[in-house]
């Protein structure tokens, strides 16, 4: 059976390793799968004031009930 002739085994395995582990993987690593494009919202969300961003906002002077 010619498959059992080990004289060619080295070069077959070397070229297979080269192809499989390097060439193919380089090709597939270049595939891009971008997300579908969506329209960007034109209105910006409501911006918070600095004292409304902190948890201590109930104690900030401007938010306490005014005297």
């Amino acid at each position: 059976m010619p498959q059992l002739d080990t004289s060619t085994w080295f070069i077959t395995i070397m070229s297979m390793v080269m192809t499989l582990f390097i060439v193919f993987q380089l090709k597939i690593s270049k595939y891009l799968y971008p997300l579908n494009p969506e329209p960007k919202p034109t209105t910006t969300p409501n911006q918070l004031s600095p004292w409304e961003k902190k948890w201590t906002k109930i104690y900030s002077p401007l938010s306490l009930p005014q005297q």
Binding site: Q3, I11, S15, T19, F24, Q25, Y33
Partner: protein, 226 residues
């Protein structure tokens, strides 16, 4: 006749130069790597198929197993394209060489086993003893499980080699029989039909790749995650 039959499985050399290297590298030409956002039909089709296959195949893996995505995808593309190209007449199929299949099976299987040993040592050693075995049977069962573990890469390689080789041999034989019978009788139509059916069934060589990668994948899953 024996010499002539196996002649197509010798690694091809042209005047002493090993052109088997070119033959093994040829299928990679059929998968162009694009640099565009929108590609032509061929590349889009290939990308879509790769995405479909990878989603199907990596669904059962956890995060650690999914790092093997690139390896598994290039494996299935390589073996699939090589087997399909081998169905052309007078072509050489590299996957009929036991050397190449052993070179693919042993490193990949060893990688999965070593990954399992490194990250989950106790769990991977526990594979050698199924649950609920009676105590007197334990030594024998450990031996049996060890043998079944070490036979996995050999089985992977020999399965692929034997299937592709057997398919090619059968096509040679039946084609030769058809030619010989053409001068004798018109039952040749029946035999030609058999060749056609055999070729179609052999196109399920692609299914064999599926089997190869699936087996490898199941092995990875078991060793890495369980």
């Amino acid at each position: 006749m024996n010499e002539n039959l196996f002649a197509s499985f010798t690694t091809p050399t042209m005047m002493g130069l090993p052109i088997v290297i070119l033959i093994i590298m040829f299928p990679s030409i059929l998968f162009p790597s694009p640099n565009r956002l929108i590609n032509n039909r061929l590349i889009s089709l290939q990308q879509w198929l790769v995405q479909l296959t990878s989603k199907q195949m990596l669904a059962i893996h956890n995060h650690k197993g999914q790092t093997w995505a690139l390896m598994l995808m290039s494996l299935i593309l390589f073996i699939g394209s090589t087997n399909l190209l081998g169905l052309l007449p007078h072509s050489f199929t590299p996957t009929t060489q036991l050397s190449m299949n052993l070179g693919m099976a042993i490193p990949l299987w060893a990688g999965t086993v070593i990954t399992g040993f490194r990250h989950k040592t106790k769990a991977s050693l526990a594979h050698f003893l199924p649950q609920g075995t009676p105590i007197p049977l334990i030594p024998m069962l450990v031996i049996i499980e060890t043998i079944s573990l070490f036979i996995q890469p050999v089985a992977l390689a020999v399965r692929l080699t034997a299937n592709i080789t057997a398919g090619h041999l059968l096509m040679h034989l039946i084609g030769g029989a058809t030619l010989a019978l053409a001068n004798i009788s018109t039952s040749v139509a029946l035999i030609t039909f058999t060749i056609l059916i055999l070729l179609t069934i052999l196109e399920f060589a692609v299914a064999l790749i599926q089997a190869y990668v699936f087996t490898l994948l199941v092995s990875l899953y078991l060793h890495d995650n369980t």
